[in-house]
Structures are given as C-alpha cells and as structure tokens.
C-alpha cells in the first residue's frame, strides 16, 4: 500500500506514530509561519502541518501545491494546538517530513464542496469530480448498503439471485424496447429487457421457488424529468404463495431496510384498495404522512342552484387545518395554482371557517350558513380551518384535488422527509381502456391474474375486473409493484383475448411462456422495486439521478462520455444497416 492509514482514522491515541497518508488537497491555508493542508480521501480529512521555521524548504514546496493535487505524505501524528471538534480527526495533525506529488491537477471547474458552485450539466460532464464531493459519495455509499442489505434479507428468506439475459427478444407490448442489431444474423435484432418479467416466470416454472435479482432494465421512452433510459430494479418472484404471502415477505424487506439503513424501527404497513386511494386521495400513490382526505359533497352541495356544482360529476373537498386566515390574495394565488395546465382545475371554491363560528365562502350567493356548516361538519372542520372544493368530471377532479392536497401538505409542513408512512395499494383495475386505439391495455402487464371473483366478468365487462396486483407506496412515492400471475394457459389465452391479441400475435410474442405453462407451472407471484427511487427516498432526495454513479441527462445523453454518438460506416455495414437521413 502507498499509505499506512487513510485520512479518516487517526486519533489522539495515535499521537507520535510515523504515518504515510495519500489523498487529495481539499484546501490549504498559508498563515505566514505555518501552512496547513487538508488532505482528503474517501474516508475523511486529515490536517497536514508545515512549519516555516523547522523546515522552510518543505513548507515552501507545500505552498506551491494546488487544490486537488494528489499527495503521498510522510509525517508524525501530533496533537493540535487548536482542536476542531467537528472533524473526527480534529484532535490531531500530521507534521509532515516528506511530500511526494503523485499527480498534479488542473483547477476543477467547480468547487469540491457539498454546496458547490457547479450547475447540473457541468457536474454531469465532470461527474468524476462531482463524485469527489462528500454528498455524492454518501449517496453511492447508501446505494451500496441498500443493495447489500437487500441481498442479505432475501438470501435469508431463501431467495436465489439468478441473472437473466440482457440480450432478449423485442416485444411490442407497452413502452419501447431498445434493440441491438445482430452482426451474425443479418436483419435480426436482440432487445434489451424492460424487465425480466417472462424470465422470472420461467424460473418459477423451472421450480426455483424463490428468485430475486438486482438488475438493470431499459426503456426507450421520451424522457421526462427524473426518468433514466437505464434503471435498476429489485426483481423478485415466489412460488406457491397467495397475495398476502408476497405482501408480508416484502413488508419484511422494507422493514429490514428501514432498520439496517435508516435506523428506523416500528414501521407499519397499511393496506388500501385502489378504489379507496382514488376516492380519498385522488391518486394511486397517496402520501399518507398526513390526513386531509377528500370529502365528497355531491349530496350536500348539488341541486342548490350553483350550476358549476350541479353539472359536475363530482364535488369534493379537503379541509386545510388552520388556514382559515388566508387572505384574499392568498386564495386568489391558490386559485391560479389549481388552474395551471399541470393541475387543470377550472376553478376553486373555498369556505373559510372563521374563529367566531361564521363561514365565509366564494359561493355565498348560492349557499347559506347552515348549508356551509353542513359541509364543514361533513369534513370534520373546526373554526380556523379552510375548506377547498373542486368540482367536475370525477377522475380529473380527484387528480386535481390530489395535487392541491399535496400542495397544502407542503405549505403546512406535513411532509417531513424523516417521517415514513408505508402502505400497499391493492385491487387495481386489470385493464385500462385506451381511447386512441379503442382497445384495452393491461394496467400492469398481460400476466397479471384477475381477482378470482371477477374472472367471470372478463368476457363481457373487462373494464370492471380487478387485478390481484399491488403497489408499495412510501410517502406518496411508488417504490414497487407486482401481482399474482396467471399460471395456466386457458386463463392466459382469455386474457390475451381481452387485450385484443389474436392467438397468432400472442403466440408470436409470448409463445415460449405459453408453451412453458403447459409443462406444469406453479401458482406464483412477485414484485419489482425501483431501486434508484428507493435509494433516493432513503437518501431524502427527490431526484434519482443523485443516486446513479453515471446518470444520463433528460435527453438520454451521457454528457461525460458524449454518448450516443455516430459509428463507423464499416461497423454499420457489418451490421447490414443503413442510417436514413431525417
């Protein structure tokens, strides 16, 4: 080793030791008679001391060294005269006797500090420097620990980690595949997996009983903020289980991770049907750190002459505690907020429940005090509260009210990143109708089993069939989801039929899975977690990019290595391809 110790470990007990350290210059201070250098490595920072009186040459040499130079220094551990209680090594410094400059460094394009002056794109271009910042390094360390603890838990539960192939077959169902032209098979392509879904089901057919994998997946979608073309899943599958077995097993995983990584115990999981989630929170991933559930007011608020309500499919509101003092200006701003295209509400009705028990609303013309009091009672409001009400088509109103609820949660500071509220959302619809293509799509994927009682509806009322599917939601973030699978061929064929696949199309796409189902498939189910997102949640960040060592930008481009890029004409020829001019 080029060092005897790293930069985070020396303590006052080590005083007098001759040591060799290696690292980068975090900063240096020249105090005339003395020069100090903070030497940094992954493990910490240790102060180096140079004295003009005792060794003028060495001190002069030290003064020439720039930020981020790589040094190997030899010296003696010495007690500091002015200690720094904030640093683990703050009681000591190294009185240096020898410096070796292992490498010089240009001045980095941004400061290597937690609060850096570098913008996003610049930091991505020099990601190798960004990673030197403690805050980024800690994110990668967290990710390492999450993966380690996930594997530990699942191994203990007898899951086997099995690597499934990356070069697979393109399936047009769902979002877009990346494809890989084959040189050896002209005109043919592999595809990169959007998930190992079919392979993990085949492993269950193969009798492996419990499978998992922490695995890269790929999706060639138009990127939205915080989507990456390659992302990592914790992918799991179990045989001979019911839904509740799956939920309990992975609640166990979540609890283990909370304890091992965050030191948080007493995590409890609620369960909520999709129907309730939509009805009370307007979303299938409710943030249940706070209440503010929706109250539907159709019975109380319709047929009183207010056209907006009378013509609405749904009238529903939330009660924002203690916001009864909102000014006219604040309420106007809130109205503007809900009318933004991202939220899409037509307007906002408010009722202020004054401290004196009176009620003041934006619809006083249509409703008297008793009626408004009726709403307030239905919403369990107290004097001082503010009722916020939206109306319109059911789904759109719920969605907008859900956004408003989150906004009010933010304003009232009800969304503490150090509080965790976990739940399973269950009983999703099996199928979604698509207006454009006039057909149903699988809400999860075409292997999701319907709930037994609903199978009879599959032929004539497919939209009403509930899936035996579930999502894990923590603090309003969908961490993962899964389902009990279809495992027999007749039901799978019925499902493909409902999805509008001809038997030929089904055979072409999923023939090998359908074939496998003829050879004794066990009942099975599983789940897949978005590992990047889970890391971000535990790290207290909103962006998954911070938890990926080398992320791509929102255009799917790696600005550090400049990829994607053109390739040689020769290489194209070997692949039997020509690029078309746009």
């Amino acid at each position: 080793m080029l060092r005897t110790h790293h930069c985070g470990e020396l303590r006052i007990e080590d005083e007098g030791k001759e040591v060799v350290l290696c690292g980068w210059i975090q900063r240096s201070r020249d105090l005339g008679g003395m020069t100090f250098i903070d030497l940094r490595d992954r493990y910490g920072i240790t102060q180096l001391a140079f004295n003009m009186e005792t060794d003028a040459d060495l001190c002069a040499q030290a003064r020439e060294l720039g930020r981020e130079y790589v040094l190997q220094v030899k010296g003696k551990v010495t007690e500091r005269s002015s200690k720094n209680a904030k640093m683990p090594t703050g009681d000591i410094e190294i009185v240096v006797t020898q410096i070796e400059v292992l490498n010089e460094a240009n001045t980095p394009p941004f400061t290597i500090e937690d609060e850096t002056d570098g913008g996003d794109e610049l930091r991505m271009k020099y990601r190798y420097l960004d990673i030197r910042r403690e805050v980024v390094r800690r994110s990668l360390e967290l990710r390492h620990q999450m993966a380690l603890e996930t594997r530990k838990y699942l191994h203990d539960k007898r899951f086997l980690e099995v690597e499934t192939p990356v070069l697979i077959k393109s399936t047009p169902e769902g979002a877009r595949d990346f494809v890989v032209p084959s040189r050896m098979h002209p005109g043919e392509f592999y595809a990169l997996p959007q998930s190992p879904q079919t392979f993990k089901q085949l492993l269950m057919v193969g009798g492996l009983d419990r499978y998992f994998q922490i695995v890269k997946c790929f999706r060639d979608e138009d990127l939205r903020a915080d989507r990456q073309p390659e992302f990592t899943q914790i992918d799991c599958e179990m045989s001979f289980v019911t839904r509740d077995d799956v939920l309990e097993t992975f609640e166990g995983l979540a609890k283990h991770l909370f304890k091992a990584v965050k030191g948080v115990e007493n995590i409890h999981f609620d369960r909520m049907s999709y129907a309730d989630a939509m009805k009370y929170y307007g979303t299938d991933k409710p943030d249940t750190r706070f209440g503010m559930r929706f109250t539907e007011l159709n019975d109380l608020a319709q047929q009183k002459g207010f056209k907006v309500f009378d013509n609405a499919e749904l009238v529903a509101g939330i009660c924002a505690q203690g916001c009864g003092t909102y000014s006219r200006k604040q309420l106007d701003a809130l109205t503007d907020w809900v009318q933004r295209p991202q939220i899409g509400a037509k307007g906002l009705v408010y009722v202020k429940y004054n401290e004196d028990g009176s009620l003041k609303s934006s619809v006083d013309k249509f409703f008297d005090q008793d009626q408004l009091k009726g709403w307030a009672d239905a919403m369990e409001a107290m004097p001082g509260d503010l009722l916020l009400i939206l109306a319109g088509e059911t789904h759109a109103t719920r969605k907008a009210l859900g956004e408003l609820r989150l906004e009010m949660g933010n304003r009232l500071e009800l969304r503490d990143p150090n509080t965790f509220s976990c739940l399973w959302v269950t009983d999703f619809p099996l199928l979604e109708w698509d207006e454009d293509t006039q057909r149903f799509y699988a809400m999860h994927h075409p292997f999701t089993a319907p709930i037994k009682e609903d199978i009879s509806l599959l032929e004539n009322e497919p939209g009403k069939v509930r899936a035996n599917a579930y999502d894990m939601v923590i603090n309003g973030v969908e961490i993962g989801g899964g389902s009990i699978r279809i495992y027999d061929r007749p039901l799978q064929e019925k499902m493909f039929d409902a999805l509008g696949f001809t038997p030929e199309e089904a055979k072409k796409q999923f023939g090998f899975l359908m074939d496998a189902f003829q050879y004794g498939a066990p009942p099975h189910g599983g789940v897949a977690f978005g590992f990047d997102r889970w890391c971000a949640l535990f790290g207290g960040s909103e962006t998954i990019r911070d938890y990926i060592a080398f992320p791509k930008n929102n255009a799917g481009r790696d600005v550090m290595i400049d990829s994607p890029s053109g390739i040689d004409e020769d290489q194209l020829k070997e692949l039997h391809l020509r690029v078309l001019k746009p």
Copy 2:
C-alpha cells in the same frame, strides 16, 4: 403459503404432523394395493403414499396423475415401513388425505433426471424444464453462493459496489461492440460495454478508493465453443496500491471463496512470470496441478546431423512418467494427435527409457545411447518413463508441446478436478505485434502501465516492454486478470503513440479519460474475473453454459425465446434505419 412445509424438510421427528406440501410429480409407482408418488420441489423429494384399501377413490385419483403435474397435498407424516437412507426425507412418507391438482403438465420432452435423455439443443429450447433437474439447479445455487460470498468478502475489505452504465460509447479498440441505435438521436448509437474499464478508472479519479461490481459485459465476437455474447465479470479497482497489494487482496478473495463455497483450505498461490510460463509450460495459463515441465534440448540435440532438430529454433520435450511401455500403436496414435491441425506439430520424437536402462527412440539413427541418456538426465527421467520431444519455431513448438503436456496429464490422471493449484502469471508483454495491420496492439488494454524499468524502451523497442499486468490461473484456467494502470496523461499519450493512435484518434476515443487524468488521478490498479468461468471451475464443469440460467448457443442464439429476431418496419423507421439485403 399454499404449503406448511417444503419437500426437503420432514424427518422422523415430524411423525404424526398434519402437513400440506406442494410440488411436482417426479415419478409414481403403482404397486397394486399401494401407489407411491415422489413429490419434488427445489428443496428435495418427499414420498406420498396412497392406500387402495383405506381410500380407494383417492388412490385411483393419484394413479391418473402424470409426471410433472403440480400438486398440493394434505396428509399425515408417517414412518415408512421400508426406509430409504439415501434420501434426507427417506424415513417418512405422507399418507395423503387430499389432493389438489394445481396444474397439469404435458409429458416433458426429456426426463427430469440428472442423467437425462435430452440433447443440448433440446434442453436449451426447454431450459425452464432443464432447470428442474437437480444438477442444473445446483449449478445456479452455486452461482448464487459464489456471488454472495464475493460480495461479503469485498464489502468487508471496504469495496463499494457501484453500478456503471450499460448504454455507453462505442470504442473500436479490441473486439467488437454491440451497438444500440438511439431513437431520440437519429443516426447515433450507444454501445454495450465489453467491460466497465474506463468507468472504474473514473471512479478511482473520483476518489471512491475501492470499487467492485458483479456485472454483465458484452462482446460481439464470432463465437467459439464456450463463449457467450453476454457474460459476467467480477470487476474490481483499488487506489493507492502497488501490484502486490492487488495480488494479495484477490488471493484473499480466492481463498475466501475456496473455503466458504468448496470447504477447501490451505490454498497457496504461486507466482510465475509470463516468460517462465511460456518456457516451461508453453502457455500463459499453465495447469500446475502436475509437473511435466518442458526441458529445452537445443544444446544436447542440435548439430548431431538430425536436420529436423538442426533447423529448429527450439527443441524441447516433456517426460511422461511410467509411459515407457507405450506400444508402437500408442506412439503412432500420439504422433497423429500432435499432427492434428488444432495442435499443429510436424512430428513427434519419442525416447522410451526402458526398465533395463536402455533407451529406444524414433531417432536412433542420429543419436546414440549416451546422447539419449543425456536427454533423459536433463529431463530427470527414470527407467520406465517416456520422453516426448517436439521441434520447430519457438512459439508454435511451445504451444504444441503445452497441448501434448495437458493430454498426457489427462492420460496419467494428473488433473483431478478436486485438486486446486493456483498461481499468478505476471510480467506480460505490454504490446503485441500484429502482422496483418503492421502495428502494435495492447495485450490487455491501452491503460495498462508498463513496468517502471521498461518505460525507457517504449519509444524504440516497444515489443520488449513488460506490462505491470497479471492473470489469476487456477488449474490451467484463466480466472481473471488485471493490471496497474497508467494514471498520468504524459505516459498515457506515449502509450497511445506506441499503439499508433494519432492524438486526434486518442482524443476521440478516450478523451474523457484523458481529460479526467488532468484533474488529479490517483495511482490505481485492478482486476476482472470471469464469473461464469469461476463458477464452472468450482462446479467441476468445463462448460460455462451450465452455470448460466438462460445461455445462448454457439451461434449467439437463444433458442428458447427465439432471439435475435426480426422487428417491425415501423420500429426500424423510428430508429431511422434500413436493413440492407445481404
């Protein structure tokens, strides 16, 4: 759970328990009054018993069930009348009271037994059935355990597992990249990594100090037997280390795996220079489970009138102990063997050292007894041994003699798969001359550091420069390799120059790494192991395919999912591509 126990756990102590088991029918035997079914799951086999006298209906039902049907059975654990000591559950059976057929099964196309009647391609097509065979399942379990123990060891040594990107940039150096057309960036391509080499070096520049990853890599080569287009590496890198630090760290990994996975202790690693490996074994991955090292005979055997020897650059032989009794026919067969194109020797000279001390050779015309005795002494042969001698151009002769040595090792049963001989081969040449393109290529990759003493040769005698590179070889199998890296830009530029890269080409290909080296790169080095191969070695198999859940065949095709395959014209259009007719 659909079961109370799995099929491997019930013992005589469980007698009397009411249990529920799930699994597949391994076999059933109808003995008239009794019917027995062996029920199998991942964990083992349990015998189910049905009695015609006590429950004729159930027994009749059991008799209808075919191989590989999936059952859920309820019954009572009962002591067997005739126990089977070979099965862990052999003391008991389940007297069944209820059968639920969870799924039927077609008759599988091959038997689900360790010794199956299915050929390779058939088993690959139905890999999900192949995986049900205990021997395949155990291979996948071994792989799981290897990965787990690798992570445990490296975590304890403070390595961080960091995921590097799969969608990267194409580099024409070395073997061929798979490429991935970008839909969002017309005419541009990502490439799949042949290794995360540059990224792990960037992580070192980023100060992560110790990195590892168990990671899929990709190579679009013409496939040879036992090559897969996607394969898995244990990829590692460390900062502030010398070569010996790297070797010791990963000897430690190997020893840990030997102990944890194979139960083998007292593993010792030898070190051998590339030059010695070639001189004494004719290969850079010698199987050192046995001796039979080469003896060079130029001094003793040339200038005696035998043209074949006199014109040869090298005359060298091995001593096959106890083979002095080989018949003429056996020797002729051996001569044929070395003359096969795969071995490529022109002929074979033998000397039989008879028990009576006399020597009989195929070149008695040219050499007398004393001369032959001189060879025998040089080769430390004893009466009863057989000397086998090849001659010709040095490299080709060594290669052929190396193959002959392995063949004789096989015949003499010196290559016991349960004996392990480990070594590091070091000091490889830095560069290889390629006759076709009349240029040097990096033997490992262009970031490998030369040995310090040899740097001065780089400009004028590049072929003589030794690399600070090393391979781990176990039982003649190259398990992994690596090097100390170049970490400063001037030396890297010199290296690119020796490789015939113009500065522009170097910048285009590796610009981001060269840039990174300007910002304070630490000294670093690392290693990458072929994980599939290591699993095969530990599993006692020669083919890595057995240790991959869903391997591709020698044409790079997944015959189960039928991939690669054609894609839609629409999809091609979106990718701005046209397929050229061959």
